[in-house]
């Protein structure tokens, strides 16, 4: 092991910023990060062992104790639940004789849940040793169990098990007309930097991650910084449950995304860029590396790009299972090999980003659009959409609809149109923008897709009338508690309190005061949290409480107060130890008259 760790560290030039890559390699080889490896890395990377332990414990895909040689993770997204995830997990557990959260005694296989894997249109989904497994059903589980029990190496598993569909159902402006590699760069060089930035400005392009900051302004601010060492970062840490469009863009439009990053580099004057790819998309890693190699061969990356004198290259960094890293400053921390804890702002990444240097962080879709605009000009893009939302938005549609997949819509399109396209019937509501977004009901179908109305990073989950809304909210609330980085008090403690308080009501132990307490907690978490995760963590509760108060009310008891824990169950240990089961050995949950 010592040699293995030494080699990996050396391949990474003993750089502390490469800690995640190094840990990925060790985790893949040993199925955990052994203690001696931590000691060895601390000394060779010249960092404190506590930093390494911190990172391992922060990211869900690293472990301090061994996982199975086949590590199975099942996606816990609400969309997987809609597709029968729970029963399927039970089946896997029975079939492979391993409990959820455990490693089988022989060490061969472990099973656990994981946050949304971005395969919502083809779930229930999972990961085996990090590789995505779509469309799981009993037949596939039987097949997978067989392969695992026979210890078949993953590379010999039938490729069909790993085949992932793009499901591009409604392409428009961007998806219909991918640009030829190099064209955006040619046009940029030909037109000049200032003119290209002006085109981008005219296009009205705003960040596609959800927040909607104007792309041209961000690039301009970065370009204007006195510090000349600058960076371009593509945020492909698509962790919002229900979104998977970046997966498709990187699978089928990666050339254009990289081209957009390169155009950005030319404009802001960066020499180095990163694609921060979420760990769940490991299956795309080699393919993307090959595209980068191809681009270098075409003179579109590397030194002296298209004989312009510009030097720029792109590196791919893999995340490791932390939703918070989708927040740009947390992502930068992660790129630097640290725990993904959002930074204090100001300063913003555009002045103090990667290694404290000016950095542009944009979404995959933003770079895709920027490349097209750089080639075709701003007018082409600005001519469609609404006043404040130009162009199109690419949606990941999943849930209860006949045709889940990727849809591209002009901004301003009504929700009703989208629903009819994807084949949604007997609607309960739609979660727009994922758990951090908004739940809208069937009464709001005239609302429009736009920054002015319904802004979204792309997640669009449809729920029909047979679904239990509170189960959905419960799933989302658990998600945030699980993904909170724990930096600030209101989010660290508040998301767990929210989870418990909601459970109290959902489980039927709530009284009127408990909804008030829930609302109060929502406001605290929303108003005082450090970053977007905490500020939006209460949204599922807030938006459904506003629309379906009667649903919450129906779970309440008409009493002044009921304990939040099961009183009678709290006596169980004592009952057993005293070997009693008489009437006095029991408690009712509320006082009986």
């Amino acid at each position: 092991m010592q040699t293995f760790v030494k080699n990996i560290a050396e391949e990474n030039h003993n750089l502390a910023t490469h800690l995640l890559r190094i840990l990925h390699a060790i985790q893949a080889r040993y199925h955990y990060i052994p203690e001696p490896a931590i000691e060895q890395l601390a000394s060779s990377l010249n960092i404190a062992r506590t930093q390494i332990i911190g990172v391992i414990k922060f990211y869900s895909f690293f472990h301090l104790t061994p996982r199975g040689r086949y590590e199975l993770l099942i996606s816990d997204s609400i969309t997987d639940h809609l597709l029968g995830k729970e029963a399927l997990t039970y089946y896997i557990s029975q079939k492979l004789k391993v409990a959820v959260g455990e490693v089988r005694a022989d060490g061969l296989v472990s099973l656990d849940n994981t946050s949304c894997t971005g395969l919502c249109d083809q779930g229930p989904a999972g990961l085996v040793n990090g590789l995505a497994l779509p469309r799981l059903d009993r037949a596939r589980i039987d097949q997978i169990s067989e392969l695992i029990n026979q210890e078949t190496p993953l590379e010999h598993w039938p490729s069909e098990l790993f085949h992932i569909n793009d499901h591009i159902i409604k392409p428009d402006l961007l998806l219909n007309h991918p640009i030829t590699p190099g064209h955006a760069l040619h046009s940029t060089f030909k037109r000049g930097i200032t003119a290209t930035l002006a085109e981008l400005d005219f296009s009205g392009l705003r960040g596609r991650g959800g927040a909607g900051f104007k792309t041209a302004s961000k690039w301009q601010y970065c370009r204007d910084e006195p510090e000349t060492e600058r960076y371009v970062v593509c945020n492909a840490d698509e962790g919002e449950p229900g979104t998977f469009k970046d997966r498709v863009l990187l699978n089928s439009y990666a050339q254009q995304v990289f081209e957009g990053m390169t155009v950005c580099a030319v404009i802001i004057g960066a020499q180095k860029g990163f694609l921060y790819l979420r760990g769940e998309y490991l299956f795309l890693y080699d393919k993307l590396q090959n595209i980068l190699t191809e681009r270098r061969q075409l003179g579109l990356l590397g030194n002296n790009i298209l004989n312009s004198g510009v030097n720029f290259d792109i590196d791919i960094c893999l995340g490791a299972g932390a939703y918070i890293c989708g927040e740009e400053s947390a992502l930068i921390e992660s790129l630097e090999g640290k725990m993904g804890i959002p930074r204090n702002r100001p300063p913003y990444p555009v002045t103090h980003g990667y290694l404290d240097k000016p950095t542009v962080v944009n979404n995959v879709e933003t770079f895709l659009a920027a490349a097209a605009i750089a080639h075709l000009g701003g007018d082409w893009f600005a001519s469609i959409g609404t006043e404040k939302s130009k162009g199109t938005k690419i949606l990941s549609i999943s849930g209860d609809c006949a045709r889940p997949g990727i849809y591209e819509y002009e901004f301003g399109t009504s929700i009703e149109t989208i629903l009819s396209d994807c084949g949604a019937e007997a609607l309960l509501g739609i979660q727009i923008g994922g758990p951090s977004g908004l739940f809208i009901s069937e009464l709001e179908l005239q609302r429009k897709l736009a920054f002015e109305d319904l802004a979204t990073g792309g997640s669009f989950i449809v729920f029909n009338k047979h679904r239990n809304l509170l189960d959905i909210v419960n799933n989302f609330t658990h998600f945030f508690a699980h993904e909170s980085c724990g930096f600030c008090t209101p989010c660290r403690v508040g998301t767990s309190l929210l989870k418990n308080q909601l459970a109290k009501i959902v489980d039927g132990h709530g009284s009127a005061g408990d909804v008030v307490a829930l609302e109060e907690l929502c406001a605290l978490v929303k108003n005082y949290s450090h970053c977007g995760l905490g500020q939006t963590a209460a949204n599922p509760i807030i938006s459904t409480l506003a629309r379906f108060p009667e649903l919450y009310q129906s779970r309440l008891k008409n009493i002044s107060y009921e304990p939040g824990f099961d009183l009678d169950a709290a006596l169980e240990t004592a009952r057993q130890l005293a070997n009693r089961n008489d009437a006095a050995a029991h408690l009712t949950q509320v006082e009986q008259d």
Partner: protein
């Protein structure tokens, strides 16, 4: 001309580069806080110092003072919410003041007194946490850690060591120490390190000193934290 901000209607001067809390402290205005210490890099995690800057919530310890800011600090709403945040810290860990050596000298407790906190409000987590009494002179009671990172920063920035770190995620955060064994005794911490003395709660304690000052005669038994804190931090800044 001096640049100024307004806090609760009072105009106070600030210097370029100062945070809101620094300007406030210099002007003798107390903003409740736990993770802030004038000597160390601001952290901004406890959120007790949240103030409303032109209507928007900001952490006073990290947010820069800027000309024309209209700041609310001592409002009923903010104080009530700060109380709730403090209650969150109380239910997250296991804070049994009557049995804690730090009682009376504890900033967490003193801030709670200041905010007139009479109960813990939320259901307790009763988290299972450990005690590390391995070191001859210093002990860690994880039950009382509030993840303010003052020990982490003091060790790094003042003692020029790297004894402490926070690991984990969400509600499962944990203070860890830099030793292969994971035990405090195997770190290079000395009882004279600032990191061993800076804990605002009773999570890091110097052994054998617990009851030298009897309960009832301790700092916050007689003084209010706003006065104590201002006196200390104004000295620190000079």
């Amino acid at each position: 001309m001096t640049k100024t901000i307004r806090i609760d209607g009072n105009t106070i001067p600030f210097e370029e580069g100062q945070t809101i809390i620094e300007a406030a402290t210099a002007a003798g205005i107390y903003i409740p806080h736990l993770c802030h210490h004038p000597e160390f890099t601001p952290h901004g995690s406890c959120k007790l110092c949240t103030v409303k800057v032109n209507g928007r919530n900001c952490s006073a310890c990290t947010f820069p003072a800027m000309e024309g800011q209209e700041i609310l600090n001592d409002s009923q709403e903010l104080q009530a919410d700060r109380q709730k945040l403090t209650q969150m810290l109380f239910v997250e860990g296991n804070h049994f003041c009557p049995s804690c050596e730090k009682t009376g000298n504890c900033q967490l407790q003193a801030v709670a007194y200041h905010l007139n906190m009479l109960d813990n409000h939320f259901p307790h987590f009763y988290a299972q946490r450990e005690l590390d009494a391995s070191h001859a002179e210093v002990m860690i009671d994880h039950n009382r850690c509030i993840f303010c990172t003052l020990c982490v920063r003091a060790s790094h920035e003042h003692d020029h060591k790297n004894v402490f770190a926070i690991s984990g995620r969400g509600i499962n955060k944990q203070l860890i120490v830099n030793a292969e064994s994971g035990l405090l005794k195997d770190t290079d911490l000395e009882a004279t390190d600032l990191a061993a003395h800076i804990c605002p709660t009773g999570a890091i304690l110097i052994k054998h000193t617990a009851y030298q000052v009897p309960i009832g005669k301790r700092i916050y038994d007689h003084q209010h934290i706003d006065q104590v804190s201002l006196a200390l931090e104004q000295t620190d800044e000079n």
